[in-house]
């Protein structure tokens, strides 16, 4: 069985995994990180989206063994010390979730979108989130939330010190992805 060293939400793991085991099943079954759900297992719905070295990936289409030497961030690392990440705060305040099943993936995909484009317009948000399905909200409030989060994150970036708590390090734009980082967002 392949042997991987992977950092998930700031914690280093040294694990044997079945070669065919999907990342999302490794996260859920082996690490107990059930905050990331499975929606379709065919890469269409995006519910299982996580960040791999800061870039969004659908964890049902990545093998666990492919994460060797990489850093994974899930929804569970977004908040810290009881402080919500701006994307979480925005989803809450904009009522951008109903059942909440798509929400972890939607937020992680939105973070990747905002890293590429910190000030997207509505159409850019809609197209940027095309890989993530929601069946409850009709997306209206998700678009609002991403805009709200973008504004909050831009304001935060403009204020001297980048946020150190609650933001995965790879979300700070200047910082390069750091495989095997010893401290993550958690």
């Amino acid at each position: 069985m392949p042997h991987i060293r992977v950092t998930v939400d700031g914690v280093r793991y040294d694990d044997q995994v079945e070669a065919r085991r999907l990342l999302v099943h490794y996260l859920r079954e082996q690490l107990g990180k059930v905050g990331t759900p499975v929606g379709c297992d065919t890469t269409n719905c995006g519910a299982c989206t996580v960040l791999m070295d800061g870039q969004s990936v659908k964890s049902c289409s990545v093998l666990a063994c492919q994460t060797d030497g990489h850093e994974i961030t899930t929804v569970e690392a977004l908040a810290s010390d009881g402080e919500l990440h701006p994307i979480q705060q925005a989803f809450h305040e904009s009522h951008a979730l109903q059942c909440g099943y798509c929400t972890p993936g939607m937020m992680m995909a939105a973070l990747d979108l905002l890293r590429d484009n910190p000030d997207p317009d509505d159409q850019e948000i809609r197209e940027g989130l095309e890989g993530n399905m929601c069946r409850c909200t009709g997306y209206v409030n998700i678009v609002h939330a991403v805009r709200r989060a973008a504004a909050a994150m831009r304001a935060e970036a403009a204020e001297s010190e980048p946020r150190t708590h609650g933001v995965p390090p790879q979300m700070v734009r200047e910082q390069e992805p750091t495989p095997h980082a010893t401290s993550g967002g958690a």
């Binding site: 269409n44 569970e76 009522h95």
Partner: protein
């Protein structure tokens, strides 16, 4: 004694409170059924039929048993003596065919995906692997895919072998008639006949179905991604013979339902039976393709509708003849879905006569059942489409035609031709507001310009002035319709010694925000802080009585039970307050959580102080129990009737067939609004699903009965890029049938939007001679309709 807190706000109802539910959903601290782990838990995988129709000649499980990690392998025959038949709660006619529906097929399979065998293994991967080693010998039988072909005399039978199919694929005929239909049609100036197709849809909740069952002695705890834990417990007991009081059903966090989790499924029954047989906890979670194949589908009707009217547009009568595809079996409310729609075809319009008939048809496909709106979207689609066609036929603006026929606001309450009494409504107000927001006249002017200039991009406008029957349902009416249960809802409200409040509700949320909305209601009613209210639901041991969540019923019926329980708590508190304050009950005033003695300056006693006094019980008035709590079971007298006006403008590229929604305006009247944030969200999501039926989604079967659209790549649930922003607003005409004045909002958007969108596409293409389009209106269908209309025009020109 606690000190009296400051008077809390009492204006929670109507305020856009952010949801209590969100905290765990946005942080990943969720409790989906698939997250549940139990010590020693085994995983189940089902082997499913690759044939739409076949006899099972033999099932050999021996090789699968030898696979690594496999604990057990069973075929349907292994459970034949105990698995019973999956329940149908709605035998709509006395002679309805009700064929046996074993959770795992024993002799015959009747749709692709029907469970034939199952493997139980140490993990899900091992279980899936071992499925390949199960050997099933099938003798294929003819598939029955098309409803009309299924009714032909020489059609193969779906249920020939069972002897329960009445010798045809006709499951039932349900007729209804009111008024003199022949007279209405005979004397009319205009009669229009149309045939509309409601394509088959897949509900596609984001959370796949999942079930976990744990045996505990002779008792069982079953977690399921269900909308209906109470109905599920009852039906599990009736199906398997495990006594009801030995079954606890828990619906933990549930990721959307839209009707698809209003079901008693084969996998839930088998999880219980496997846990009993193996004495181990078991889990099963569907894959998405498995879900698309085997979680019930929705819609799938052919609607023949005729309307009769005078030359001035007054509607005289309506005739509806439906074929409804049941699929292979009758599931929980399969036959009842079109019957729910029967009362809604007349919509908001007055007319003299109405006849309806529905023929339920068996096919070798996944059974249909409730999907968001359940019967009512189908009815609304047909009436709203044909009203616009009628307007076109007599050369009248489609909104003007509606105005001439709808129930005027001063005519409420109004009993319509279908026998329903609409308690309240104001169609004029909603329509005026919608037309203003939409810019109706301006868009009509633009449409004329584009038509005149021969613009390749044509503009179309669609209208839907809908109503729906919600708040399911008066138990008396359900009884008259042969439904197997009532439509009441239960709540209990208990004040804890510290003044906090627990509210137990029998409704069961899966995204609707009950915890927030119910907290708002209770905060107002008891005068306690919103934050001090905890809403408990979704566990038959915590909330022992309930009828669950569907049919836009939770707030209207369940919310009313909460209101009544709160009022009873206040009445109990009043007796205690009078005793504590040494005042006469009649002299007490209750406001914002405080009792005061009328006309005096004496300090108030708060409901929290009374809760503590009740707990201490040191000095209670004679005959008073030491608790401050109350129960209520509310059974509505009538349905509620949300309504509204939806307007859609589409741009249709006549060269590519592409449809782009340019503007969508929805003005809904859902009565009193408890939380506008939640209401807007429900409308948005409903619109998305209704628009999806109009433009994107269709469950397609091939001639052999295979579901061709079995992944999310093929069944095109719209993404953010496929949908527009919406303009939404409300008018408020409170319902008179419940104390809050609420009407329900969960289904409104879905019911209203489909005819508005398709109507707009047809309107854009009317100059080409297009009068109808099959849903979904894909670019290919739109392009073909234009091409065919042009070809027809050319050939007519050639003949001249």
């Amino acid at each position: 004694m606690t000190t009296a807190p400051e008077a809390p706000r009492t204006d929670q109802v109507g305020s856009p409170r952010l949801r209590k539910e969100d905290a765990r959903l946005i942080t990943g601290q969720t409790n989906w059924t698939d997250n549940i782990q139990q010590t020693g838990m085994l995983h189940v995988a089902f082997l499913r039929s690759p044939h739409a129709h076949a006899r099972i000649a033999a099932v050999d499980t021996s090789a699968a048993m030898k696979q690594p990690g496999v604990t057990a392998v069973f075929s349907g025959a292994d459970f034949a003596g105990e698995q019973g038949s999956l329940p149908c709660a709605w035998p709509v006619t006395e002679d309805m065919a009700l064929p046996a529906h074993p959770p795992m097929a024993v002799d015959e399979v009747r749709y692709v995906g029907e469970a034939v065998a199952c493997v139980v293994a140490r993990d899900a991967y091992a279980a899936a692997d071992a499925l390949e080693a199960v050997d099933v010998e099938y003798e294929p039988l003819p598939a029955v895919v098309d409803m009309e072909a299924a009714l032909a005399e020489d059609s193969p039978l779906v249920h020939a072998g069972s002897g329960q199919g009445q010798g045809s694929n006709k499951a039932y005929v349900w007729p209804f008639e009111a008024g003199d239909v022949d007279a209405a049609f005979g004397g009319a100036d205009v009669v229009l006949n149309r045939r509309y197709h409601q394509q088959r849809l897949i509900p596609a909740a984001m959370e796949p179905r999942s079930v976990v069952c744990r045996p505990e002695g002779d008792s069982f705890t079953l977690w399921s991604a269900t909308q209906v834990p109470h109905i599920l417990r009852l039906m599990l007991a009736m199906t398997t013979g495990v006594p009801e009081h030995k079954i606890r059903v828990i619906a933990p966090d549930v990721g959307g339902g839209f009707g698809s989790k209003l079901q008693v499924t084969a996998e839930e029954v088998l999880a219980l039976l496997l846990a009993r047989r193996l004495r181990k906890p078991v889990k099963w979670t569907e894959t998405r393709t498995e879900g698309f194949q085997t979680t019930h589908h929705g819609r799938d009707q052919i609607q023949d509708i005729s309307i009769a009217a005078d030359a001035d547009g007054r509607v005289r009568g309506l005739k509806v003849d439906l074929l409804a595809d049941m699929g292979a079996y009758m599931m929980l409310v399969t036959p009842g879905v079109p019957v729910l729609g029967a009362f809604m075809f007349p919509g908001i319009y007055k007319m003299d006569a109405y006849s309806f008939s529905c023929t339920g048809v068996f096919t070798t496909k996944m059974p249909t059942d409730a999907y968001r709106g359940a019967g009512r979207p189908e009815a609304t689609y047909a009436i709203e489409r044909i009203m616009t066609e009628l307007a076109n036929e007599i050369g009248m603006d489609p909104m003007e035609l509606r105005r001439r026929n709808w129930i005027r606001h001063e005519e409420f309450p109004h009993t319509g031709v279908a026998g329903l009494t609409y308690d309240s409504g104001n169609y004029e107000a909603a329509t005026d507001r919608a037309m203003e927001l939409f810019g109706y006249d301006g868009l009509r002017a633009e449409q004329r310009r584009r038509r005149d200039s021969g613009d390749p991009v044509q503009l179309g406008i669609g209208i839907s002035t809908y109503t729906e029957m919600c708040g399911l349902a008066p138990s008396r009416v359900l009884g008259q319709l042969s439904y197997g249960a009532g439509g009441w809802e239960n709540a209990s409200v208990r004040m804890l010694p510290t003044g906090k409040v627990e509210v137990v509700t029998g409704s069961c949320a899966h995204g609707q925000g009950h915890a927030t909305a119910w907290s708002q209601i209770v905060a107002d009613r008891l005068g306690v802080p919103f934050e001090d209210v905890e809403v408990l639901h979704g566990d038959t041991r915590v909330s022992p009585k309930g009828m669950d969540t569907y049919g836009s019923r939770s707030l209207v019926v369940g919310g009313t039970a909460v209101v009544e329980a709160c009022d009873r708590v206040v009445e109990k508190a009043r007796r205690m307050a009078a005793h504590m304050m040494e005042a006469d009950e009649g002299d007490l005033e209750f406001s914002a959580g405080r009792f005061t003695v009328r006309g005096t300056e004496r300090p108030a006693t708060t409901v929290q102080e009374i809760a503590l006094a009740a707990f201490a019980a040191h000095d209670l008035p004679e005959g008073t129990e030491a608790s401050l709590d109350a129960d209520s079971t509310f059974d509505p007298e009538n349905f509620s009737y949300p309504h509204g006006t939806h307007l859609c403008a589409v741009e249709v590229d006549t060269e590519t067939g592409e449809v782009d929604i340019r503007a969508y305006t929805a003005v809904d009247d859902v009565g009193t609004v408890v939380n506008p944030l939640i209401v807007d969200g429900q409308v948005h999501g409903g619109l998305a699903q209704g628009i999806a039926q109009a433009l994107y989604e269709e469950a397609v079967h091939d001639a052999d009965g295979n579901l061709v659209t079995s992944t999310m790549a093929d069944y095109t649930v719209p993404t953010a890029a496929d949908l527009p922003d919406f303009t939404t607003d409300r008018t408020v005409t409170p319902s008179t049938t419940n104390p809050l004045g609420t009407k329900g909002v969960g289904e409104a958007g879905t019911i209203a939007s489909t005819p508005a969108v398709v109507g707009a596409v047809v309107d854009a293409l009317r100059p080409f001679g297009v009068r109808d389009l099959r849903m979904p209106c894909t670019p290919q269908r739109v392009w073909r309709a234009i091409a065919e209309a042009r070809a027809a025009e050319r050939s007519e020109g050639g003949q001249r």
